[in-house]
Amino acid sequence: MRSSGALGRRLPSAIAKQLVLALFAVICLFPVYYLFVTAFKSQGEYLRNLFGLPLNPVLENFATVFRGRRFLRWFANSVILMSGSVLASLMIAILAAYAFARMRFRGRDGLLGFILVLMIVPPVVMVIPLFKIMVALRILNTYPSVIVIYAGLTLPFSIYMLSSFFRTIPEAIIDSARIDGCRDLRLIRSIAVPLSAPALITVVLVNALWVWNELLIAVIFLQRDELKTLMVGLTIFKSRYNLDIPVTMAGLALATVPMLALYFAGQKHFIRGLVAGAVK
């Protein structure tokens, strides 16, 4: 990158760079492209035209997906579990993160460090005892059981993000509120939370994505068909429409669109959340 470098020498390397980037862009985009174009092809066209743009786009596949209401049921289940667990995780984490960031107590730092480590423990390790607990409490195959599990599994990340954000709120703001007679709960509601909007959005987006895409817990804890989540439903869907690939693709496309929309709307927040912890 010498500033005296002749244009003749920089140009080829710039072109080479663009070629490498373009190649990887194609590799990343192709499966996504294939998924969406196939969803709009009839079975006949798909067999003739494997990965071109649809020449006669059809919406039939989507109609087939919605037939029988199973798909809508799965979709609704995923939305319910996602909203419930993201909200629960957020509420519990706000309280804890405020204490970790803004109060002094014995064992604080050690406890926080320990909670953060839990982020990486594979859920499969906890699944056998959790299953027994849910059976004993007779809440297997219910929304609350899975909401609690998801809220618990996402808590370490939520606490981590929020406590590091709460720590950056200037002491002066908190102090002056205290002098005005603000108690802690009101402080959280009217100062800490409103000032932490970016961190809250990050926590909500990252957890929503995680819960929406989760498979293992959903497979084990929600076995009744009317309780299955979208991700589990898709794997069933695939075996049912094994030969009608466009119908399966329409289902996959519908399951992917909500997360794509969230990603494009909040890319900055997603990226901040997912790289948090590695980059200071």
């Binding site: 990158m1 010498r2 663009q18 490498v20 980037l21 990887f24 862009a25 590799i27 990343c28 499966p31 996504v32 294939y34 494997l50 990965f51 309280l95 804890a96 204490a99 970790f100 109060m103 107590f105 909670i115 480590v117 839990l118 990486i120 594979p122 499969v124 390790v125 906890m126 699944v127 056998i128 005892p129 959790l130 607990i133 609690v148 599990i149 809220a151 618990g152 599994l153 808590l155 895409n213 498979l215 293992l216 084990i220 991700m231 898709l234 794997t235 695939k238 693709m249 996959l252 399951a255 992917t256 997360m259 794509l260 997603f270 990226i271 997912l274 790289v275 912890g277 590695a278 980059v279």
Partner: protein
Amino acid sequence: MSRLKPYLFIAPALLVIALIFFYPVAEVFRTSLLRVSGRTSSFVGLGNYRSLFADQVFLAAIRHNARLLLAVPALLAVSLVLGILLFEGGAGFRFYRTVVFLPYIISIPVVGIVFGYIFQLNGILNQLLRAAGLGALAADWLGSSRFALWTIMGVVIWKEFGFGVVLFLARLMSVDEELYEAARIEGAGWLQVLVRITIPQLATVIEFFVVIMIITMLSWVFNYVYVMTSGGPGTSTMVTEYYIYLMAFRYNLQGPAAAASIVLLAVTVILILFRANISRRIELE
């Protein structure tokens, strides 16, 4: 009262974490020392661990997780190259960052099913190979025990490398401009800047990424296997998590499943300690 207050604030979180993490881990450890049959169970010490390491399927699962580790250097190389290319600027920076991170957003079941079709015997990949006159290379990528694990590895790389790119990019963008300025004034060449500044600045993030990816390959690949191959053909794509799932929920062999869970947890914990050591060093810097 005010001394107790912090504990009241963290109590709900601790309660849920105890229920979802602490109790299950303790219980799974206890179960790993028992032989469970029906409602009765008896203490068998390390019996479950002994039979676990005598089980060819479990040993195969461990071998496969180990083989998946080969994806880590590939992931590192690809993410590093793209991260640095994007950092060095050029047209379309934002576009490429968005695109490269896209696979990380899409769920594994969706990714697994789409790639399942791409890698089918009559799927796109083989059709492209045939069209290019390379029909001899066409294969049943997920249906043959020779290729299935490698195919899964390829899909994991496709899905995860964007994470590395974004990670490296974020780190590079926070590097002090002056370092590069100084190097330019000294007349350092592109390669020198890369070796003397860029790579050293990335060192801790590279370590972080490598550890996270090792953990991913050892203990976060269940979804790929469940969706694409169910461990097959035969046991050619059996991995530790899938083995635990089958033992516990298909064959109801809780003792061995719990023992395998403890083995998996132990490996993960060792890696986490290693990682904690890294972040402590990052903080000291």
